[in-house]
């Protein structure tokens, strides 16, 4: 088990290496003029040349890659052409914001999706089943940015219950940084006022991001529960007179969740990409907003950095999902 985990974690390294080659190649080989953009529209050729030299963009691409890679290993993720700040510093600031949003969305999706899916499966073909099925089909087709806009219209503008955008009120100081998660940091220092504010700001974006995974988890949970309920051993238990709630919670839930877990793991990557749109709508200062600005400015060091971080989170999550699978289901052997 321990060896398996270590081996899987070590396998992430060559994957990231390959990914860095691909992303670097895409960033450098595509047409586009990042230096010209950074130097400004009125820059003389001398200024452009000096900007190119400053960022090492005048060297051959393999040399640029080698410089980047050796820097990466020393914690130097390059410098943003525009903010002129180290990418590593930017990432340290934006990663917790995005992770907070993604984890909150995933929590909503799991906590609501799994019980509803279970319920739909028990009351199969009933009104509740049809209702959740129809609504979840719509939820999967709903564009996140449109949903975000509708939520803003309803809860921030019309009802005025929740803040329109941002991560914290501009006029107040966020809780001191411990983990970078505002909600967690506020709890750690026992500041309930800050916790409430952070939660209020988190609510709408997390909701907008959670709807699609919620619907998928619900459908997956329903399907796998129905499959488990049709197994012979469940019939045996029923015949033995075991109460249905024990059958459901002791013998069905565990097997059904194990199948749903794979979907949840796959969704992490989707959520990390999906934050781009939700962060744009809600001005959430995370990886999505950062990478959008970088992409629009063809500022490629941040883009490469963000891509590598997201890939890393995705790969680590898939290892965690595989381990959880083995814990939940003894039939799965880790090798």
């Amino acid at each position: 088990m321990l060896w398996y985990v270590i081996r899987r974690l070590l396998l992430i390294i060559p994957t990231l290496l390959g990914l860095s080659v691909i992303v670097f190649a895409i960033a450098r080989l595509l047409p586009g003029d990042p230096v010209g953009l950074a130097a400004g529209p009125n820059a003389t050729p001398e200024v452009i040349a000096s900007v190119a030299a400053e960022f090492g963009l005048d060297k051959p691409i393999p040399v640029q890659y080698w410089t980047y890679l050796t820097g990466l290993l020393q914690g130097d993720w390059g410098v943003s052409l525009f903010t002129r700040r180290p990418v590593a510093a930017d990432l340290a600031e934006f990663v917790p914001a995005t992770l907070e949003l993604v984890i909150a969305a995933l929590l909503i999706a799991v906590v609501v999706g799994i019980p509803l899916g279970l319920l739909a499966a028990i009351r199969r073909d009933g009104i509740f089943d049809y209702l959740t099925r129809t609504v979840s089909l719509g939820a999967i087709a709903m564009p996140r940015f449109f949903l975000g806009l509708l939520l803003q219209l309803a809860f921030a503008m019309a009802l005025n219950w929740l803040p329109l955008s941002g991560r914290f009120p501009l006029i107040e100081f966020p809780p001191d940084r411990i983990t970078g998660f505002y909600t967690v940091d506020a709890l750690l220092i026992g500041d309930w006022h800050a916790f409430g504010l952070a939660l209020q700001h988190l609510a709408l974006p997390a909701l907008a991001l959670s709807l699609s995974p919620l619907a998928t988890i619900l459908r997956m949970m329903r399907a796998s529960t129905i499959e488990v309920l049709q197994q012979d051993y469940i019939l045996t238990e029923r015949a033995l007179g075991i109460p249905s709630w024990i059958i459901l919670f002791k013998y069905t839930l565990r097997n059904a969740v194990s199948a749903t877990l794979t979907v949840i793991g796959l969704y992490v990557s989707w959520l990390l990409g999906g934050t781009v749109l939700v962060e744009t709508i809600f001005d959430w200062p995370g990886l999505g907003l950062y990478s959008t600005q970088a992409i629009l400015g063809q500022d490629f060091m941040p883009v490469i950095g963000v891509t590598l971080v997201i890939a890393m989170i995705y790969l680590v999550t898939s290892v965690i999902v595989d381990i959880l699978q083995a814990v939940l289901n003894p039939k799965v052997r880790l090798q």
Partner: protein, 300 residues
């Protein structure tokens, strides 16, 4: 099929079996009313897109005509969906936007299918190191969220509908490569393939006539589901400000612009947003229905 009379001539027998299968498929499709709704919306969308030049209420608006005198009119008899900040008719823009969305959605999936399918066939059929190389690149590309990759490529290529289509295709072909490879590799092991090979059937004919027809079902189901998600990705790119540039009307771009005028001028957002939602929903329902028809084992 067991009821068919085996004394019939072979050709006629085949035709009646096929007719029966088709009748059964239509029955299965019609049984699920959600797929019928999906089909209906998709048909309306395609019809609207095809007929757009003739049914636009204000044709000048799609070429960038402005009419500030009627800016921000709420929905009315003259402007069913209202007007935007420069007085353009939103219904006109939404109708014309369907052309952009459908054209790019269908083209992306078509191209991804051709590129990914070809690479998948090569990887699955040839195997060995070629398989390894193709699949490792596929795996790597799949670890990058498609939206971010598409945004980066589209931004570097510059604006324009074809650049956007290329960018999305680059993010999409790996899923088809993976699917087709798995199917081809599985079929390659089957006895009918070995038998054909023993009979001296060449590889091109073997793949084209015997392997590919057998893997069509999962590919078609995935493709029809994907058209909806490709339309969503097109709108997402428009929304973050990459892709088609005004005055060409695009649903995502319209929605991004409408953000600035919330909540007073809600109609500038609601109609393009609903159009995206309906288009994605239609192809999702259609894909689900097709799966039920083509592959009844996966039902429910």
């Amino acid at each position: 099929m067991s009821q068919t009379d085996t004394t019939l001539p072979r050709a006629q027998l085949a035709r009646s079996a096929r007719a029966e299968a088709r009748a059964r498929a239509i029955y299965r499709f019609r049984q699920s009313w959600l797929s019928v709704i999906g089909l209906a919306i998709a048909v309306v969308l395609v019809a609207v897109a095809l007929l757009a030049p003739w049914i636009l209420p204000y044709p000048d608006d799609v070429t960038g005509a402005v009419n500030p005198a009627v800016a921000f009119q709420p929905p009315s008899a003259a402007h069913w969906f209202g007007t935007n900040s420069v007085g353009q008719d939103i219904l006109t823009l939404v109708i014309y936007g369907s052309r952009i969305s459908l054209l790019s959605g269908l083209t992306v999936i078509g191209l991804a299918l051709i590129i990914g399918g070809a690479l998948g066939v090569i990887a699955g059929w040839v195997g060995g190191w070629i398989d390894e190389v193709i699949m490792r690149i596929t795996d790597l590309l799949l670890t990058i969220p498609s939206l971010i990759l598409a945004m980066a490529v589209a931004a570097a290529l510059g604006t324009g509908i074809w650049n956007m289509i290329i960018a999305i295709t680059i993010t999409w072909w790996p899923t088809y490569a993976r699917l087709v490879r798995a199917e081809v590799a599985a079929k390659k092991q089957e006895q009918f393939v070995t038998a054909s090979r023993v009979l001296g059937v060449g590889p091109m004919r073997l793949i084209g006539r015997h392997v590919l027809p057998n893997i069509v079902t999962p590919v078609v189901v995935k493709a029809s589901l994907d058209v909806g998600f490709a339309i969503l990705l097109v709108a997402s790119l428009g929304f973050v400000g990459i892709g088609v540039k005004p005055p060409t009307p695009e649903w995502g771009t319209m929605l991004a612009e409408a953000r600035n005028y919330m909540p007073q001028y809600w109609w500038t957002a609601i109609f393009p947003g609903t159009a995206i939602f309906l288009a994605v929903l239609a192809f999702n329902l259609l894909g689900d229905g097709l799966r039920d028809v083509l592959d009844p084992r996966t039902r429910r």
